[in-house]
């Protein structure tokens, strides 16, 4: 199946809050948290930004980067765990805002942090079967962390859009493989503002089991080894988990360094490893191979193997790089952060 990435676009809000600032409010030891999480700061949405506005900006960058005719997009899937509406699709707004309506199918996906990569797989099927010429998969979140909870140090905002097709590819998707079980490691009930999680339980039976099984499953399926890849990127709820995961699987630090964006971005949930992939595509050369594995609590992982084509050089500068989006942030204090996140109820 000759299917792959035709274009991509990322969007990161400009505001940041440092871990020290959050720790100061809760009387926590910032250095211990930074050492434990390998996260120094996280992105914060503006007051008038949400999952939909972030998804639209990422989608527009993806369309502009490769000068795509939006009317050729036959499917849009927006993955998020922070869709603004409980009932009303985010994807209809995105489709209208990028000029893809009305002759297409859209839907919203939800699978904790891997809803975006599930969207990529759905688009692969649609394109591969000939149902659509181009499909767009988006991972976008303004993720929530309850005040004082461990998640508050990492729950960030950002989004990434990938246009999937079978012509003019910047990266072929060589193969994909998924691993899924019913694991209650993290959840948010209907109407609740913040998620609950199983603390340390989210690590071994959640993240490490699913990411390792999906990653190893894909390499077994393809007959590849870590050394066959130039880059690797794993879901990044913090810096420590993907670094440990890479080591367990046999990847070297040099392979994951470029895609490890969580340290100065935080966890963008549905956009997490897709943001790392975008950062890699920003510098990758023709022939480079990239290994990616997402993770969504609940729980499941999608693993992908990509091979970059020489088309990447033609479109690379058509939209801002992840490095540029991360540069020149505006740092805010906890009070402003609380206002931006709607934690203060008027």
């Amino acid at each position: 199946m000759n299917v792959g990435i035709v274009s991509y676009g990322a969007y990161i809000p400009r505001y940041r809050i440092r871990v020290e600032e959050i720790a100061k409010v809760w009387g926590a030891n910032a250095h211990s948290i930074i050492d434990g999480l390998m996260v120094f700061e996280k992105s914060v949405p503006d007051i008038d930004e949400d999952t939909i506005t972030i998804a639209v900006e990422a989608a527009r960058y993806a369309i502009n980067r490769a000068n795509i005719n939006p009317e050729k997009i036959g499917a849009i899937y927006t993955g998020s765990e922070s869709h603004p509406y409980a009932v009303k699709p985010s994807s209809t707004v995105v489709a209208e805002a990028v000029g893809a309506t009305p002759h297409l199918t859209v839907a919203d996906f939800e699978f904790a942090c891997k809803a975006g990569t599930a969207g990529i797989q759905a688009c692969m099927g649609m394109v591969g079967s000939g149902m659509v010429e181009l499909g767009m998969a988006i991972g976008s979140d303004v993720s929530q962390g309850a005040p004082g909870d461990a998640l508050e140090y990492t729950a960030a905002a950002g989004g990434v859009a990938y246009i999937i097709g079978n012509k003019d590819l910047v990266a072929n998707i060589e193969s994909t493989y998924s691993f899924t079980t019913d694991t209650p490691d993290f959840w948010r009930r209907e109407g609740m503002p913040y998620p609950e999680h199983g603390g340390r339980f989210t690590g071994e039976p959640g993240y490490f089991k699913h990411v390792s099984c999906a990653a190893q499953g894909l390499m077994d399926k393809m007959g590849t080894r870590p050394s066959d890849y130039n880059y690797a990127v794993f879901h990044q709820p913090n810096g420590k988990f993907p670094t440990r995961m890479a080591k367990m699987l046999g990847f070297q630090n040099e392979q994951i360094k470029q895609g490890l964006v969580v340290t100065h971005l935080g966890n963008t949930y549905s956009g997490s490893c897709m943001m790392g992939l975008a950062a890699i595509l920003d510098i990758a050369k023709a022939g480079d191979r990239i290994f990616m594995t997402s993770f969504g609590s609940g729980a499941g992982s999608d693993a992908f193997s990509f091979k970059v084509t020489d088309r990447i050089e033609e479109i690379r500068n058509g939209a801002p790089s992840v490095e540029k989006l991360l540069a020149d942030p505006i740092y805010i204090n906890y009070a402003t952060y609380a206002r931006h996140k709607g934690k203060i109820k008027l």
């Binding site: 809000p13 007051i47 008038d48 639209v56 527009r60 707004v93 805002a97 000029g99």
Partner: protein, 133 residues
Amino acid sequence: MSVPRFWRRLKNLYNLIGTHCGKCGGYFYPPRNMCPICRRNGIINPIKFNGAGLVVTYTIVHTSAKDYSKLTPYILAIIKLDEGPRLTSQVICDHSDIHIGMRVKAAFRKLGEESDKGMIYYGTKFVPMESKV
């Protein structure tokens, strides 16, 4: 803003779609169904503006209508689009950076919401041209 009113203007708000008169060359935003210059002889067609423009004038709103109270203080400006028409919009930037003549570009943002259980209105605001957002 009522739901039907927003829905009718949705395409214009999302993508700066106005109208262009093929006879006199005039551009209009919000869109006009009839050219105010050529009247019934006008040839009116929809057009999507490129989203670039400059700040003609601005003010900083500290005391707003209730719907915008969470945003105060915010910058409200008259923007002249490169194609010619002028419109009123918020500009998202540091208040010390805003100035008359500033080049700006369109950005997709929340315009407002009815309430916690009401509609959320999306559309176009502006950010500095050199901004990466």
